[in-house]
Structure formats: C-alpha cells, structure tokens
C-alpha cells in the first residue's frame, strides 16, 4: 500500500478509473508473487526434510501441506482476478490435487463415534486407523476406483479393543509383549502359544454379535444368497508401510455359524512366532497393536494369482508380472507349487511378452466347511490358468492401481467360475535391483565346485554360511545365527528365522511368494525354484550363495562376498518418511517446465509445483498484456533496448521511466527508477559476459539433458527469457527466468531509510541436485559476504536486507546485478565442491569473467 501511495504522489494527473483498475490488478499480481514465494519456500523445506536426516511427526506433514494448499489456493484465486476468470479450469485442477493430498494426510473425522462394524462400501483410507491398511486399500479400490472387489463388511480395530477389554486382556497382552526376546526361539514359541490361547478363548460381547448379525443380513439381501465368508486380517500398519506378507491369517470359506471362532483365530494370528519376529524387526511391538478383520463374500475361484506391477528382482519397471494357478489363492503365494508365469509390457500397449505354463497338479477348492486340496484333472493341469483376455483386463487394473497408489504394487486377485475378476488386495511392492558381483577370479570353480546353477532370484546379493536344512517347523527353534536356510517350499512361517539367516535357497516356489517378499524386505540373498537344493546341499556344509549369478558354490568365496548389507533400517525407510514421500508426489515434482510447449496448460498440472509454475508464468503474461493495453497516462510498458539478451520489459507505475520518452522502446539512460538504475549498472557491468552460452563440461550437459527429458530441449540457453520489471521511482519488482533459473528482486529504495528494503530469491537450475546445491552455496556465500541475511533451503536462496541507507542499497543492487550475470548457468561448471570456493573468491575479487577457472587451461592450483 505504501508503494502505491508513492506512485500516486508522482502521478496526480492519471485518470482515476484506469489507475484504480491497474492498481487492483497489480495488487493481485503482488499477492500472487508473495504466495508463490511462500509456497516455494515451504516446498523446499519439505523436500529438504525428506533428504536430510530429519526427525518429524505427522503434524509436520499436515501443517506443511495445509500451508502450501492455502498459498496455492491464493495463487489460483489471484490469477483469476488478474485474468478476469480466464483460468477457472485451474480451480478444478487445484481442487483435484488438493483432494489427493488431503486423502493422504487426512485423519479420521474427529467427533464421529467409532464404529465396530462397517460395510465395505463405507470404507476408504480416511478410516485407516480403524480398519487397517489392507482393508482401507480395498475400500479405496472398491469405492474410489470402482474396480471389482467382493462385497463384505469389516470388524474394525474398535471391535478388537472391545473384545480385549471385555475379556480383561488389554493389560496382560501389553506386559507379555514388553519383554519379548526374539532371539530366544523357545521362549518365543511358548509366549506365542499363551498369547494365542488367551485370544482363542475370549468371549465375544453380545453387542458385537448383534452388529455382525445385522451386517451379515445386509450382505444376504445384497447378494440374494447366504454367502460363506473369507476372513482377511488387516493389521494397523499392514500394506501401508510394511508388507506383512503372509504374516497374519486369512481364513477361507467360513460358514456364518463358524464366524466368531474364525474371527478369534485371525486375531490370534497376530501373535504367531513369525508375526512376533516380524513386528519386532519392524519396531512395531511398541506401537499400539490392533487388528481389524475384513469379512468378504467368498469367491469360489476358478483361478487365483498375484500381479507385480514391476519385476521384483529382474530390474524391469516397464513390465507387469502375473503369477496364477488353479483354484483358491493359497496355491500361488504359499510356495507349494510353481505357478504359471506371465510377463506383460506396460507401454506402448499392454501386451503379453512371455509366458511359462507350469504343470499345476493340485488346487485348493472350497469344501463343506473350509477349503481342501484336490488333484487337478490331467487334461487341465498344463493348461494356462488365465485366458489372454483375462490377462489384459488384469493388466489394465494393475496399471490403474499403480498409478492411484503411486508406487509399484503387489496385487492379489481371483477369477470366479464365470470368468469375472475380483481384486482382493493391493499393497506396495518391495523392489530390489541386481548389484554386480565383481569379476570372478580365474579357476574359481576348480577350488569351489558349483553345487547349484539353476533357480529364480528372490533377493539379490551374495552370502555365505553353513547349510541349515529345515524339514519341519520344529527345526526352526534350532536355527543358528548366520546360517543359510535351505528348504523344500517357501512357506511364510520360515519368516520367523529370517532375521538370523544369512541367505536362503529353496527347492520350489516363486519370487512372488510371501517368503520371497520377506527375504527382500530383510535384504537376505535368496534363490527359489532351484529344484533340488534340499537333495544337493548337506546340513552344516559351508556354502556361498551368489544370487546375482544364480549359483551356489561349495565353501566360502571371500572374493565375491561383499561387505554385508547392514540390516539396521535407515531413517528414510521409516513409515513416516514413506508417508511424506507419498504426499510430496502431489506437491513437488515439476513437469511443466517449458511455457512454449503445447502442454503448458492447467490440465497438464499434476502437482502444486506445476500450478505455481503455470500461474506465475500466466501472471507475468497477464501483466505484459495489461501493460500493452494500457492507454497513455495510466500505466506504461516499454521494452529496454540493449545488447544484453534479457528481453527486459518495464511497466512503469509512475516516475520509473523518463516521461518525455514514451515510445515502445527505451534505452537504459531513460530509466529513472532508482533501484532499477542501480541493478542495471550491475547487469551491464563491462566485465560481465552475457553473450553466448557458458561452456559446460560433459557431465553438466548430461544433467541438463536428463532433466529435460520430460520437456523439449531448449532451443538456446535463454530459451524463455522475457523479464519483467515493475517500477516506480523508488520501487522495483523484477522477475526473471533465465533458462531454468528463476530470480526475483523486490526492492524499495528511497531517502526514507526506514522504508527501504531489498529481497532477493533465486531458485531452480537445469543441472542435477548436487550441482544446483553448489550454486546455491556459491550465491549464499557471496550474498552473506555482501552483508545480506541469507537463508538456503535446497536450491532456493533467499536473501534480505532492510532499513539500509539509499547509497548502500544502490551499491548492493549493483552487485546483485553482477551476481545474477555470473550465476547464470554457473552450476554447470561447478563440477565439485572445491571449485565453489574458487568462484566465490573470484567474484569477490571482481574477476567476473572467471579467468583461470578450474578445469580451464591454467587452473589456479597449478599456477
């Protein structure tokens, strides 16, 4: 406001209507810029938090996202004010993205009484804390994506708490879990038995029985028959943050009269030895445990299977992997047979690339009460378990789920007798990529015979240790630390010793089985489907498992044993980091980079960063147009005539340009705005070179190119370089985008010292993060030494100065002009840390051409 008063004094003769109109627009522009700067600041802060070793809580994520959303909303509103509602579409885009973000951060609606039983049709992610990850995700699939799932209802965590409380089990359970020693297998087995017994004998409160009866009646009405149920456990943290693959029980084909005993069985499965070890390894024991149970109408499956939306170990992200077998689900994931294996391409179109059809001699089917195994008729056992049409439909669903949940997914499904596909769950997929086993020494195989050279990788890596053959579950209690687990099948129960195992070799099973998923989670080198490991390997025999090459050698091969992968988890792998990453994918990625591309539209905005980028560009364009349309005497836009490739347009609010020069073009001498004149002195300093692109080293160039893959390559270095300065006699607002950089200066320079200020911001750059970081350090250090107050967050540099006398501020603006010239693309040549200090010194010494810069003919350290 003060600023507008300033130019009002200077332009008493301006027609009031026009000036008022422009003032309103200008105020919107200012508000937009302010909100833009603030939003970028919070974004940088969130990104920095994710990259650094920060400790934060969910409240931080909520508060930061709310703050960004509020600012971006302001941006969208102000852009519409500025552009007379021409950007109404952007409002919808914003609302869409905001809904996605709020969906990630939303807590359950507070004040609403917590239900104990809920129909699946009312479940989504907001109820996460009540229904657990697995069922919350299933609710999303059913109710938001509207993909086919079974009908059903869910007994929430509240039901679990009620059962515990009514049976006075809450305290005993907690104290039992407190002193659990997962390395003492005997104690663990015994505790597990007692815990499970406590739950199995619990009485179901009558109010709960009543509610379940009601829901089952609704289900009968909806389906028009009395369905048997599949009871699926849904742990609080399951499927969201950790896979819990195969940890908790699923009971299939339960007649309603057996409902509650089965329900208790599922609750008790939280305390099997395997589950306890897993919970402890994931540091979840100390957290409030709870379990909700999804009760879904049983699908009498003809075929069942799993889809991985990326190859879990093969390194290909552009394919879908589908494993399937006849009958109900367990056959595929419990590792008791080798399923059919299909690989589909994702792009350009879904297409079947490979298939391996196995002999599937048995299948699980629904029996009278429960399920039973039966032999598959001979004529069917070698037929593919899925038709090509079913494969493509599954592929389409899988792509939708991957896109919606934002990361590769592990999906379970069934196909009923009529060929209808039903999705049963979707959870994040743990991916591992091969790492090279260095060059093998010669004659290796003479000293260390190859014992096995066939199988499928479940987890890459190399491990050595004595063979421990597991035949029965009871063998697990003797499993020694550092042994190699060798077994016939991939049952998830072996998970109970994975924290002790160095490696794993299995006869039969697939890389999509639960045990394989667990091996990847615990980073244990593992081979499955080796066919004959249990016959070839002898108990106690020292072996080396090289999962990278699919080989098992006799003896310890120190040559190829890499430093063991630390099993301690890193901060970045904690659940809260995962949550922040999920939220940030709707906030920080910038896809809209080049305003000259056809996709620079509201519809193309996929993140909040895209919206700010779009809105800022459009706001500047709107200001240009306003300037162009302005009649004489209102406001005044001119272009500066200069050899410097800045494309500088100036909107004069009054007193910033000599009034006797009112053509389209002005020369630098016509600038009367005090701050712009000072800045221009620096920009046009004879030692600053603005001509031509700066030479860049090859890696610098590469990092530019790789960042530009999503956008078209720029035609020349300053491919979008219209710069806008809004000025009055004492004021300057300067927005410039040089290549990928984005710099703004907002300054007021007058004789009233207390009014004076200078704000400078610099963000972005085409090079990779470390290089941008180096340039940020370069700028930050120089600005600090120029006495500005500097704050650096990631690659965002903010510098401020206020209440300085006019001559000093003019001097600083001059130096800023020089600095911007020098910083132009400077990140591309700052190849390493040591050069940063060199550039700082050079700038401060006035060596603006950086003569003798590192890497040139005469590097300074060799002088």
């Amino acid at each position: 406001m003060k600023l507008l008063n300033l130019f009002r004094r200077k332009k008493p003769s301006a027609p009031a209507g026009g000036e008022e109109f422009f003032k309103k627009k200008y105020q919107s522009f200012k508000n937009l810029l302010e909100a833009n700067n603030a939003a970028l600041e919070v974004m940088s802060h969130m990104e920095a938090t994710l990259e650094g070793d920060y400790v934060f809580d969910p409240q931080f994520i909520r508060a930061s996202t709310e703050s960004i959303l509020e600012k971006v909303q302001t941006i969208v509103q102000e852009l519409n004010t500025l552009g007379d509602n021409r950007y109404a579409e952007l409002v919808k885009v914003y609302q869409n993205i905001a809904a996605k973000i709020q969906n990630e951060t939303a807590a359950a609606p507070s004040g609403v009484p917590i239900s104990r039983v809920l129909p699946l049709s009312q479940v989504d992610r907001r109820l996460l804390l009540q229904v657990g990850g697995k069922i919350a995700n299933l609710g999303e699939i059913k109710n938001r994506l509207q993909l086919p799932t079974p009908e059903g209802f869910v007994l929430t965590n509240e039901a679990y708490r009620l059962v515990l409380a009514e049976n006075r089990l809450t305290e005993p359970l907690a104290s039992f879990l407190k002193d659990l020693d997962i390395n003492n297998m005997e104690q663990l087995t015994e505790k597990s038995r007692i815990l499970r017994e406590m739950l199995l004998q619990a009485k179901i409160p009558s109010s709960l029985v009543e509610e379940v009866n009601q829901q089952y009646d609704h289900l009968i009405t909806a389906l028009a028959y009395k369905p048997y149920l599949a009871l699926r456990s849904s742990g609080l943290y399951e499927d969201l943050e950790s896979s819990f693959a195969g940890q908790f029980l699923t009971v299939l084909n339960v007649p309603f009269d057996r409902f509650f005993p089965s329900y208790l069985e599922v609750l008790a499965s939280q305390f099997t030895p395997t589950a306890l070890v897993y919970l402890s390894q994931k540091r979840l024991l100390q957290r409030q445990l709870a379990m909700s149970v999804g009760c879904l109408a049983m699908v009498p499956a003809r075929s069942s299977g799993v889809i991985f939306t990326a190859e879990p170990t093969g390194g290909r992200d552009d394919v879908l992997v589908i494993d399937a077998a006849w009958g109900l689900g367990p056959a595929v994931v419990d590792g008791s047979l080798t399923p059919d294996h299909f690989v589909l391409s994702k792009k350009p179109a879904l297409d079947l690339l490979e298939q391996q059809i196995s002999r599937k001699t048995k299948r699980w089917i629904a029996a009278d009460k429960g399920i039973k195994e039966e032999a598959v008729p001979l004529e069917e056992d070698s037929q593919p378990a899925l038709t090509s049409e079913e494969l493509l439909t599954l592929g389409r669903y899988a792509l939708q789920l991957e896109e919606y949940f934002g990361s590769p997914q592990d999906i379970e499904f069934s196909v009923d007798q009529q060929g209808q596909i039903l999705l049963l769950q979707s959870r994040p997929l743990t991916l591992l990529r091969p790492h090279a086993t260095g060059v093998l020494p010669p004659h290796l195989e003479e000293r260390h015979p190859v014992l096995l050279d066939h199988g499928t990788v479940a987890c890459f890596g190399v491990a050595a240790g004595p063979v421990f053959l597991v035949d029965h579950e009871a063998d697990l209690s003797r499993f020694p630390d550092g042994a190699i687990l060798v077994a016939r099948h991939t049952t998830a129960r072996y998970g109970a010793v994975l924290h002790k195992a160095a490696g794993m070799v299995i006869d039969i099973g697939s890389a999509t089985s639960h045990l394989a998923i667990l091996a990847r989670e615990f980073k244990i080198p593992a081979l499955v489907d080796t066919g004959k490991a249990t016959q070839v390997l002898r108990p106690g025999q020292e072996i080396t498992v090289d999962a990278n090459q699919i080989k098992v050698y006799e003896g310890r091969l120190e040559e190829i044993l890499q430093a063991p992968v630390a099993k301690t988890s890193l901060l970045a792998e904690t659940p809260i980091y995962a949550r922040l990453r999920r939220v940030l994918r709707w906030i920080t990625p910038l896809r809209l980079t080049d305003p000259q591309l056809a996709n620079f539209t509201p519809a193309a905005c996929q993140t909040l960063h895209d919206i700010t980028r779009f809105a800022h560009q459009m706001a500047v364009t709107e200001m240009f147009e306003l300037g162009e349309q302005a009649r004489q005497g209102e406001v005044h836009m001119v272009q500066l005539q200069t050899n410097i490739p800045l494309n500088l347009y100036i909107i004069d609010l009054g007193g910033g340009i000599r009034t006797d020069h009112r053509g389209r073009f002005v020369s630098p001498e016509d600038i009367t705005s005090i701050p712009l004149r000072a800045l221009w002195r620096g920009i046009s300093h004879p030692e600053i070179s603005w001509a031509g692109p700066i030479p860049i080293d090859v890696r610098g160039l590469y990092s530019v190119v790789s960042r530009s893959l999503t956008a078209a390559a720029p035609q020349h270095a300053d491919f979008w370089a219209r710069t806008l300065a809004i000025v009055s006699e004492n004021y300057l607002n300067y927005s410039s985008r040089l290549g990928y950089h984005f710099a703004t200066i907002d300054a007021l320079v007058s004789d009233v010292r207390n009014d004076n200020y200078l704000n400078f911001r610099f963000k972005g750059g085409a090079a990779d993060e470390s290089r941008r970081g180096r340039r940020a350090r370069f700028l930050g250090e120089v600005l600090t030494r120029l006495d500005l107050e500097v704050e650096i967050t990631g690659d965002l540099v903010v510098a401020r100065l206020w209440k300085y006398p006019r001559p000093l501020l003019e001097e600083k603006l001059d130096l800023l002009g020089r600095l911007m010239g020098c910083a132009r693309q400077r990140d591309m040549v700052m190849a390493d840390e040591t050069t940063v200090e060199w550039y700082i010194q050079a700038f401060l010494e006035g060596n603006y051409r950086f003569a003798g810069e590192p890497g040139s003919v005469t590097p300074p350290d060799q002088d």
């Binding site: 920060y54 934060f56 409030q288």
Partner: protein, 150 residues
C-alpha cells in the same frame, strides 16, 4: 559410557525414529512409551540417566512429566521436544526444570548433541554433589572431632 534413556511421545513415529537414531549412533539404551501415565512405574523400575519427552500429549502434558521426573530425582535431566511455533511453552518447560528443548522438525545430529550435553550435565551435577557431600561429611567429621576440645 552407556546411559539409559526414557523417551515419552504419544506419536509412535517419533519413538521409532528416536530409538533408531540413538541405538544406531550411541551406546545408550532406550526405553520408549506412548503413554506418559506409565512414567511413575517406569521411573520406579529403572534408573534412567535422561528423559526425553514430548511437550503436548493428550494423557499428561510435558510439564507434568518434568515435575514427576524432578520429584523422583532432580538429577535426571529432561529434554523437551516441542512443536514448531510453541516457543513460549518450551521456555515455560525450561523454567519448570527442563534441561533443554528441541523444536520439531529437527536434524538427527541435534538430538544427539542435546543428549550428550544433558548426560554431561548429569555427570557434572552428580560429581559436584558428591564432592559437596564429601566436603560436608569431612567438615562434620572435623567438627565432631574438634568439638569435645572446644
């Protein structure tokens, strides 16, 4: 030296991260709880060298935690974790006897430094008290020794 640290925070994510950092980077042992009401029992069971607590919790606020710890043993330092923008309550906490406070979000190193400083404070405080006690008892002994002759 390995110390025993008790961490109280109603947010399990905070406990996971803090325990991970401390057990990875220091020899100290960590006990955690999301329920501050367990504090008296935990203090009775174990000798803690340090308590780290969240300031704002539904069951019991951090100020009460400080009071409880200080009543139990004034030489156990308490480090308070506060949310951004609640500087006043953090100052209040220090006024009520907290050794230090740390504002969320914070870097791994910040909490490690705060822990080491707090433990160092405890060591020095204990040493001082022991010296004082010894001097006091020596004084008393001397007095007792001299008094018959006075």
């Amino acid at each position: 030296m390995s110390a025993k640290i008790l961490i109280i925070d109603d947010e399990p994510d905070m406990l996971i991260m803090l325990e991970m950092i401390i057990t990875d980077k220091t020899p100290h042992q960590v006990v955690t709880t999301t329920n501050p009401l367990e504090l008296p029992e935990l203090l009775a069971q174990e000798n803690f060298n340090l308590v780290i607590t969240d300031l704002k919790m539904p069951a019991m606020d951090g100020i009460e935690v400080i009071d409880t710890v200080k009543n139990h043993d004034p030489e156990i330092p308490v480090v308070v974790i506060t949310a951004f923008g609640t500087l006043e309550s953090a100052e209040e906490a220090v006024h009520r006897g907290a050794y230090d406070f740390i504002t969320k979000p914070f870097r791994k190193e910040q909490i490690l430094v705060a822990i080491e400083r707090a433990l160092e404070w405890q060591r020095i405080t204990r040493e001082n008290r022991e010296l004082r006690d010894r001097m006091q008892s020596e004084k008393t002994a001397a007095k007792t020794f001299r008094s018959p002759g006075d």
